[in-house]
Amino acid sequence: MKPDISVTFLTKKMSSPLVLASGVLGLTADSMKRVLDAGAGAVTTKSFSMEARKGHPCPTILPFENGLLNAVGLSNPGAEEMNKEISKLRNLSKGLIFASIFGKTPEEFGRTAALAAESEPDLIEVNVSCPNVESEFGTPFGASFRDVEAITKIVKHAAGAVPVSIKLTVHCQSLSKMAHVCEESGADAITAINTVGPGMLIDTGVMKPVLANKVGGVSGPAIFPIALKAVWEIAGTVKLPVIATGGVTTTDDALQMIMAGASLVSIGSAVYYKDLDVFSNINAGLLDWMTERKMKNLQEIRGKAHE
């Protein structure tokens, strides 16, 4: 029997465990359709808020030796416009659509979730952990158990029938305790992790930070081991499905995430390193790996590293 990489996430069937991570190519329906056509089982929209935001001036995204540094500043066209893109995408593709949302206050998270739910996404991913707007928003909510509890409850209530995943940061006192807070507050899943840092790059010519925002989140291969350990810790603590994100670039990275307990594996920065082929290449790599070991499905290795 041929191996099968399709998975069931919550109640929905996906052709692949690979997900487009938020912040990459997630602005329009046609852009996200390209990613689904390229082999992703689901796409996550760019994080959006109730109203449109311009974000930071450029440079906003900078490659460095082993990753990317970004401070886009949560630019987005607002919930109304993004809902149109989600509805349009629904008619273009069978892939799952995850809506990523954020707000300045727990109440605003709730209102944005209620708006996002109108377009009936397959999941609302709650970005409580963007590190690039600290000067405007203060310390990310993801650092505080109490804030995450409040936001999870309010979003869960506002989202109605749409399941909710909380996107966590490693920059909190205890990820396992934070995962418990999410589970007890009613979350349906956990996305881990957001970018790490913030970090910085300085140009040695002008001797100034390069990002217009000076500091930004670190993503890409540089953070893979950190993300992997976070996924392993969360999956070992709670029963919620985990969407693993952070530096996944190769089939081996994806396998490691699944062995750490991930239900889905998100890919973002790797689109820079491998372009859109990264989805079909990892899908094919997973199939080859399973064929060699006569495995039928990914369930056989999920969480294996915990045994």
């Binding site: 912040g23 990459v24 140009d203």
Partner: protein, 264 residues
């Protein structure tokens, strides 16, 4: 130069007129195709994409006209100043025999480098360039020397008075040209696409959208229809690619990613 940000000194500045200048850089290690672009960072101000106006004898030229806060600030850049450069990014023009280059305003910039390479190959080409006035048309002298060039201005200050699109058909027929290159205001580009399609000609056109990352990941410059990224698969699109886009002349996206009606 590479995807990574690094600052380079401006080795020379040429003033076309107070609102249009060329800036020259060395240390070019890679091959740069005409139509490709670099992201230029003015430390403390912003970073914006600019197509290359020339690469000649190891020196790269970027030509900028003051139209907004960033480009106005750039007019103060002097020889020796450090400018952050990332690139080259995107797909450029490919070289073809018997072509017509159609440029409008600052869209003429990438066609200048293209013309240099076509000429070096010994390929036959003709040129039609337009702008509001003579001062809005860069490289008048070079184009006039390199190829049969028709100038068209709205005020008649150089060449014919009118719009370039009025002259395309006549030149195609007269000179038996088979390939079109174009860059300029989108309204003009749409007319060029129509003329080319009507005459069964292949074309390569350089389009513009708001760009941020330059490396194909932020999704800011995607266009409706095919969802392609202008910074990665563009900014130069061939006929098939351009015809699959549904938003030309209608909408574009601002810095927030919100659709705005396009004024062209």
């Amino acid at each position: 130069m590479s995807d990574k940000m690094k600052t380079y000194p401006v080795v020379d500045v040429k003033t076309h007129h107070p609102d249009m200048k060329s800036f020259y850089f060395t240390q070019i290690e890679e091959q740069i195709h005409p139509g490709q672009f670099f992201n230029l960072w003015l430390p403390g101000v912003d970073e914006k994409p600019f197509s290359v106006s020339d690469v000649y004898q190891g020196i790269m030229e970027i030509t900028i006209k003051a139209v907004g806060p960033f480009t106005r600030a750039f007019m103060n850049v002097k020889r020796g100043d450090l400018i952050g450069i990332r690139g080259p990014f995107g797909q450029g023009f490919t070289l073809h025999q018997h072509s017509l280059l159609i440029g409008g305003g600052m869209g003429i910039v990438p066609l200048h480098y293209l013309a240099r390479l076509l000429r070096a190959k010994g390929f036959h080409f003709e040129v039609i360039l337009g702008g509001r006035s003579e001062k809005d048309i860069p490289f008048v002298t070079e184009f006039s020397e390199w190829a049969p060039t028709t100038f068209v201005t709205e005020d008649g200050s150089i060449g014919y008075q009118g719009l370039v699109t009025q002259f395309i058909k006549e030149i195609i027929y007269r000179s038996k040209l088979s390939h079109i290159y174009s860059s300029g205001p989108e309204g003009m580009l749409i007319r060029v696409m129509e003329e080319a399609a009507g005459n069964g000609l292949d074309y390569e056109i350089s389009f513009e959208r708001y760009m941020k990352c330059g490396i194909g990941i932020c999704g800011q410059c995607v266009v409706d229809g095919s969802g392609i990224r202008l910074c990665k698969e563009g900014p130069v699109l061939n006929r098939d690619e351009a015809e699959n886009v549904t938003e030309w002349g209608m909408t574009h996206r601002n810095a927030a990613g919100k659709r705005e009606n396009k004024l062209s």
